[in-house]
């Protein structure tokens, strides 16, 4: 197995409360091969976004990297100097965010915000950078880019702004694109277009993708491998098709059965949706042992006390449950 592009090993992120620190993310490990699309799925507050931010080295108070290693192309980057990390950001690993409305500087034309990448990383002068920005806009299929580069963010729709974000991120041909819920704020039809665009451009440029989302279907459709996160831990990670065909962890099974899916009612008539009882725990009161135990239908005493070990599954899959499968 060639060395993976990105290898995250027992990542631990601490949240400093007043007087006490919590483990927002605990021994999270995964690998992304060169050009591969890897999905990280979970509900709000499960720690998926801060995992992405830690890979970019963008964690800020009260969050901090408390342990584990982040290895990019064989080299540890979790505690390199700020200057060196800056050289990686945008050049080797890039990121796009969820809120297209607020992710761009409202007072600066979009063209200039793309051109900044070329000035920063390739020492281009501003005119040359603006021309390349125009090409970048054309690549993300923004209509009449020569006019649009002068527009301000508030003059573009949500979908357009997300295309600008993608143009910015892929400007310097990074090896890895971290996408934190890129289409959650967009409408369904626009979401489909943006996902297709991202997949197409990353495939063409050989860019690997770390896709963060709460939509299991969306991630399974776009990524080769998927990891499911719950309350700061990866509970299951498999090849995309296997996640839906043979979900192993009770949480994954619960998620898949609880969501109404198209065509289901026509085939089997309206069934009562299978519920996952209880509520999503907040960081301050994560239960002991397996953090899903209060809501798990197959809970036993061991689940309430001992944190389950990672047991391997076929095709490099892994699951953390005392009664898996």
């Amino acid at each position: 197995m060639t060395t993976p592009l990105l290898k995250v090993e027992n990542l631990r992120i601490a949240l400093a409360g007043d007087g006490v620190t919590y483990d927002a993310v605990e021994n999270v490990s995964f690998e992304i091969g060169r050009g591969e699309a890897f999905g990280l799925v979970g509900e709000s507050g499960c720690g998926k976004s801060i995992t992405a931010l830690s890979v970019m080295g963008l964690l800020r108070r009260p969050l901090s990297l408390a342990g584990g290693r982040i290895i990019l192309d064989g080299k540890e980057i979790q505690n390199v100097s700020a200057a060196e990390m800056r050289r990686l950001r945008g050049k080797r690993i890039a990121m796009i965010f969820q809120e297209p409305m607020t992710a761009l500087n409202p007072l600066s034309p979009v063209g200039r915000q793309i051109a900044e990448m070329f000035v920063l990383h390739e020492g281009a002068n501003w005119n040359e950078a603006m021309d390349r920005a125009e090409d970048a806009l054309r690549q993300v299929r923004v209509p009449s880019p020569e006019r649009r580069i002068k527009d301000y963010p508030h003059q573009l729709s949500g979908g357009m702004r997300q295309r600008v974000m993608i143009a910015i991120a892929l400007a310097c041909g990074p090896d890895l694109l971290v996408a934190d819920e890129p289409t959650t704020a967009l409408d369904v039809t626009v979401q489909a277009e943006i996902i297709d665009l991202m997949a197409e451009l990353c495939a063409a440029k050989g860019t690997a993708v770390l896709m963060i989302s709460h939509d299991l279907g969306l991630v399974a459709n776009m990524c080769q491998r998927v990891a499911v996160m719950y309350a700061g831990r990866i509970v299951e990670s498999q090849v995309a098709d296997a996640i839906f065909a043979t979900p192993t962890h009770p949480y994954t099974q619960g998620l898949i059965d609880s969501l109404p899916r198209l065509g289901e009612r026509a085939r089997r008539g309206r069934q009562k949706l299978s519920e996952i009882s209880g509520v999503v725990p907040s960081i301050a009161n994560y239960p002991a042992g397996c953090r899903f135990n209060p809501r798990c239908p197959a809970v036993t005493d061991v689940c309430r006390t001992i944190v389950p070990e990672a047991t391997p599954l076929p095709a490099d899959g892994v699951v953390r449950c005392h009664h898996h499968g």
């Binding site: 369904v188 489909a192 277009e193 949480y251 026509a266």
Partner: protein
């Protein structure tokens, strides 16, 4: 054929936008001629993306927004221009469940007062009866009596939505309008609320208008479905008709845009819509969907299509409604 509980006839809600000096006054046709009925005990699914006017339509039906044109009739009573006594009767007939659980409850009011005040307002002053109905309604939505004296910030998102539902049902209405009731909730507790809404519908013989952009939810709960685009209904029919035999390209695009991990692609991928959602301020000429429609022809830009019948109870506003599919 039971008398319809709610009937809208060519309902329109227009807004004046901009001011006389800067760029003149334009009219935003948020809702532009909607005709539909809801029979007692029936669930009508209302589907559409942002900017299609479904929330404006909801506010107009609830009497919170004065309609610019058209008539609204609830249980044989005209809504627009309702006098205070009519509004009280309206309150006992039509109620609403809101999208954002964190904004739909008065933070300074206990659950008991949120449920008891409307009863007292509507003439039920006997203490014992008020108390009994409050506790009974709380039990119906899955809340324990001792939670009655708690404040909203002490509840999770899902529990708050239950309180919102209890408040909507406390006056025993006949029709409940649910505006995206689960889209703001954590994925794993959506099923709890969907099942609850369906149980209460059967138990209390309620009619629902279910507004959602999530087609999976709409297919699961609706008896009939209406699809809205730029303030108008473009397709309407029984749920099986709409999801298995959609005849309007926009409906097909909505279905095609949903990631389909089970590869049950009833609709081929090329039915996906292209480009951006048009603005309701200056809609495209002819059929509003033509700039994004894969089947676009000259007639589409020339003339707005009739809302013709495809089969009994199934209508679509498209020149090629018979050829599609």
């Amino acid at each position: 054929m039971a008398e319809p509980l709610l009937s809208l006839d060519d309902l329109a809600v227009h807004f004046k936008v901009g001011n006389a000096l800067a760029g003149g006054i334009k009219t935003l046709k948020a809702v532009d001629g909607v005709t539909l009925d809801v029979k007692p005990g029936e669930c009508l699914g209302l589907v559409g993306e942002s900017g299609c006017g479904k929330s404006t339509l909801a506010l107009a039906i609830m009497g919170l927004l004065p309609p610019t044109r058209g008539a609204m009739n609830v249980d044989g009573q005209q809504i627009s221009g309702a006098t205070p006594p009519d509004r009280m009767k309206m309150a006992r007939t039509v109620q609403m469940v809101f999208q954002d659980p964190y904004a739909s409850l008065n933070p300074r009011q206990t659950v008991r007062r949120t449920l008891a005040d409307p009863l007292r307002l509507h003439g039920i002053t006997d203490k014992a009866e008020v108390e009994a109905r409050v506790i009974d309604m709380m039990a119906k939505v899955g809340l324990r009596p001792e939670q009655a004296d708690r404040y909203p910030h002490e509840f999770s998102g899902g529990q708050r939505q239950r309180i919102g539902i209890a408040r909507a049902l406390i006056l025993k209405p006949k029709l409940v309008l649910c505006d995206e009731p689960v889209s703001a909730l954590d994925v794993s507790i959506r099923a709890q609320i969907i099942n609850l809404l369906l149980e209460l519908k059967d138990e209390m013989g309620l009619a629902y208008i279910m507004i959602s952009h999530d087609l999976g939810v709409v297919e699961h709960v609706s008896d009939r479905v209406a699809v809205m685009y730029l303030g108008r209904i473009v397709e309407q029919g029984g749920w099986q008709e709409i999801f298995e035999n959609p005849r309007h390209p926009y409906t097909r695009a909505l279905i095609a845009a949903i990631p389909d991990p089970f590869h049950r692609a009833a609709i081929s991928a090329d039915a996906k819509a292209r480009g951006e959602i048009a603005s309701a301020l200056n809609p495209p000429s002819g059929c509003h969907f033509n700039p994004r429609c894969p089947l676009k022809a000259d007639i589409c830009t020339a003339e707005y299509p009739a809302f013709g019948e495809v089969s009994p109870g199934h209508r679509a506003a498209c020149h090629f409604r018979d050829r599609v599919g």
